[in-house]
């Protein structure tokens, strides 16, 4: 095979063989010359904060799954297993950096103060989108795989043009790496040195498809071919996640252009509540990842530091109960949209066709017997 001796003259960064980590699986602190300087501010308060965040979003996630099973939600995409990846990122960035995510990033939404109702409405089917993106500096979930990456890059180009130093973050899964949009977005980001962070949660699966189908080499290698420096990190190590996020954000904010993080993690639950993962993966694999639980790892670390873990667990339980109670309350009190609302906000300016259609709709509903108009029109059976 052909090789050359000299390296390319740009910043190529890849922790390819062994993802970066600072917490070993047994909770012991592993020194890392690059990440250690970024961890100097880590104290017990910070660590317990991260622990509580992870515990609460796991509880919220479990509660949402339960709500779906009880028929209160149409669907839910569980994040179980990916808590460290999301919390580590969210807690490293100022709340004004803008997230463009897909649908599984409810941990990020939680950190950004999205309320339970705002988080659930789209999964209950009462809205297409749960919250005000500008209020939380976070776009609402993107369902079209990869589409949001362009949005993040464009947003970042605009912040740069405006001379501001906030950055954009494109969050996506391993499956998204196959979409044209995701790859194009890296071209644009590199060409315009856009202040954007590409954040890939490689949870090993795109529905049933293993990551090997989307990438035959580590995902973190992909961006390097676009001239985008890249980091591969243990996504179940919340401290490492936080450190690489700080590292990348600093790099990006300093004007050096985009950066890419591959967080190697695992989706412990089904793809969504509609999915049956037993069809495509075995218990053994699942068990090996259960043992790598990000919350348990941090707990072991805290234990080693002498934290009163019992008390912390109790606090986590208290906060989780509070959050899940709020979630459960929110879901049942979510306002049902008015039928006529379906005509609203198609355009922000007047559309005579829609005005006419709404009038006709109103007339039609008025013509129905009250109980029909109130509920639904007669529907075709689905045999």
């Amino acid at each position: 095979m052909l090789t050359t001796t000299s390296a390319p003259d740009h910043d190529l960064v890849a922790g390819l063989v062994q993802p970066l980590y600072v917490l070993a699986e047994d909770g012991t602190r592993h020194p890392d010359p690059t990440l250690d300087p970024l961890l100097r501010d880590v104290d017990e308060e910070l660590l317990t904060g991260l622990f509580l965040d992870m515990a609460v979003i796991r509880a919220l996630d479990d509660e949402a799954v339960a709500l779906q099973r009880q028929g209160e939600l149409g669907l839910w995409p569980p994040l179980r297993g990916q808590e460290a990846a999301q919390i580590g990122l969210a807690r490293a960035l100022p709340s004004t950096d803008f997230f463009f995510t897909s649908y599984r990033e409810n941990g990020l939404a939680w950190c950004r103060g999205v309320s339970p109702g705002e988080m659930l409405s789209v999964w209950r089917g009462t809205t297409l989108s749960g919250w005000d993106p500008f209020a939380h500096h976070m776009a609402t979930p993107q369902v079209i795989i990869g589409a949001q990456a362009h949005h993040a890059v464009g947003y970042a180009m605009a912040t740069k043009a405006q001379g501001k130093d906030d950055i954009a973050v494109a969050c996506f899964g391993d499956g998204a790496l196959s979409q044209g949009d995701l790859n194009e977005a890296m071209v644009f980001a590199a060409s315009f040195r856009a202040p954007v962070l590409f954040f890939c949660q490689n949870n090993q699966y795109a529905i049933s498809e293993p990551v090997a189908l989307q990438a035959t080499v580590p995902i973190a290698l992909r961006p390097t071919g676009f001239g985008i420096p890249s980091l591969r990190v243990d996504g179940n190590d919340v401290l490492a996640m936080r450190a690489v996020s700080l590292f990348a954000a600093r790099h990006i904010r300093s004007g050096k252009g985009p950066m890419f993080i591959e967080a190697v993690t695992y989706r412990l639950g089904p793809h969504t509540t509609s999915d049956d993962p037993t069809r495509y993966r075995d218990e053994e694999e699942l068990e090996s990842w259960r043992r790598r639980c990000p919350i348990a790892r941090l707990e072991r670390h805290l234990e080693q530091l002498g934290t009163d873990v019992e008390q912390l667990r109790a606090e986590a339980k208290r906060r989780s109960l509070e959050a899940t109670t709020a979630l459960r309350e929110a879901v049942t009190t979510l306002p049902e949209p008015a039928p006529e609302s379906l005509f609203e906000n198609v355009l922000s300016t007047e559309h005579p066709g829609l005005v006419r259609q709404r009038e006709q709709f109103r007339a039609f509903r008025n013509s129905l017997a009250p109980e029909q108009a109130d509920g639904q029109q007669t529907e075709g059976s689905s045999a």
């Binding site: 149409g74 669907l75 995409p77 649908y103 789209v122 089917g125 009462t126 809205t127 297409l128 369902v143 079209i144 795989i145 499956g175 998204a176 196959s178 979409q179 044209g180 949009d181 795109a206 529905i207 049933s208 498809e209 189908l213 989307q214 793809h271 969504t272 509609s274 999915d275 049956d276 069809r279 495509y280 049902e336 949209p337 008015a338 039928p339 609302s341 379906l342 005509f343 198609v346 559309h351 066709g353 829609l354 259609q357 006709q360 709709f361 109103r362 007339a363 039609f364 008025n366 013509s367 129905l368 029909q372 639904q376 029109q377 007669t378 529907e379 075709g380 059976s381 689905s382 045999a383």
Partner: protein
């Protein structure tokens, strides 16, 4: 996102006898029989192999025919179609699955600028016998992008055949015919009818371009396709109670259109109502009405009516039943064409 698969769907057994099965099972059987019949047929799509498809339409087929003929593709719709184009150059007959209606847009260029044109571009030298399967339509309480009816985009595109199926027998026979056809065929499968049951005779063949009159009637012609065929038939039953006799046509082929069948009916009834889930603006109903007006202007006794999705994006699940044409909206339109009291007069 996936919808809950129905555990009742199992891979159908090879048989030529008439069997009762769901539309999902009929499609599964059609794919199986096509793979069996022709070694050049292969399936490609996201999650169609190991998982058997999010709707289980391809359930069991990878085990039976191997991963080379039931291909789990990377997550890229343009790639699914574009790769299939190359396979067709080499003599294969790919059957592509687009997981949900709303995910077909990334493949739009490959479909409209490549698949639809290669035969024309090459003066007939290259054939593109692709079948592109798309579960479509709403009514399943899904999140955004999972309930769409994008058929008008493809019906407007020269060089494609666009067909819909409405019941298990039709699904079986049409799928077989689509795969055997030497042209590209887009098959729109009404996902909310996947679990509807019916008799299927696997020896029955379908032709791809004709509509079918499912119920004869004298007062007005009601044209539907895909998921609304069942609704239209139910509306016809309800209309009967009101003393109205509706002729129900399942359009089946959206491109080319079977104008003759529609025109023949309209000439008899003098009235036309067209219904579909897609937004009405520049849609199949626009075309069916424009064609009918061209073909039988003198026979029309009233303005044709359409009952369609509104000109809005597909709304949240909580209000989708207001968006989707149902029996009452259809009957209201029928009343209008018949000059009977209807919602707009009542208002």
């Amino acid at each position: 996102m996936t919808t809950t698969p129905n555990p009742a769907v199992t891979t159908a057994q090879a048989t030529t006898q008439t069997t009762t099965m769901t539309m999902a099972a009929a499609l599964n059987a059609a794919l199986r029989d096509a793979l069996e019949a022709d070694p050049d047929v292969l399936l490609i799509g996201e999650d169609i192999g190991t998982l058997g498809g999010v709707f289980r339409i391809t359930d069991g087929l990878k085990d039976r025919f191997g991963a080379d003929r039931v291909i789990d593709s990377p997550l890229a719709e343009s790639g699914i179609i574009g790769t299939s184009v190359g396979m067709a150059y080499r003599g294969m007959r790919p059957v592509c699955e687009i997981q949900f209606d709303g995910f077909v847009y990334p493949a739009f260029d490959q479909i409209v600028a490549q698949v639809a044109r290669l035969h024309y571009r090459t003066g007939g030298t290259v054939q593109m016998p692709l079948t592109i399967r798309i579960p479509f339509g709403g009514g399943i309480g899904a999140v955004e992008h999972h309930s769409e009816s994008p058929e008008a985009y493809f019906a407007h595109t020269p060089g494609l055949r666009v067909v819909t199926v409405a019941d298990p027998q039709d699904a079986y026979s049409t799928m077989r015919a689509a795969i055997e056809c030497s042209d590209p065929v887009m098959v729109f499968e009404p996902k909310r009818r996947y679990w509807s049951k019916g008799e299927v005779d696997t020896t029955v063949t379908a032709d791809l371009s004709s509509a079918r009159v499912l119920r004869t009637g004298t007062d007005a012609t009601l044209v539907a396709y895909g998921p609304l065929v069942v609704t239209a038939l139910e509306a016809a039953v309800a209309a009967e109670d009101d003393g109205i006799s509706l002729e129900v046509i399942d359009l089946r082929s959206l491109s080319p259109l079977d104008r003759q069948t529609v025109a023949a009916s309209v000439r008899r009834t003098g009235r036309l109502v067209v219904t579909h889930e897609a937004p009405g603006n520049v849609s199949l109903s626009s075309e069916v009405i424009a064609s009918a007006v061209e073909d039988c202007f003198d026979h029309l006794e009233a303005a044709p009516e359409r009952v369609t999705g509104f000109d809005t994006p597909y709304p949240p699940a909580a209000v989708e039943d207001h968006y989707l044409p149902g029996i009452d909206r259809i009957l209201d339109a029928v009343d209008r064409t018949l000059g009977r009291r209807n919602s707009r007069e009542a208002a």
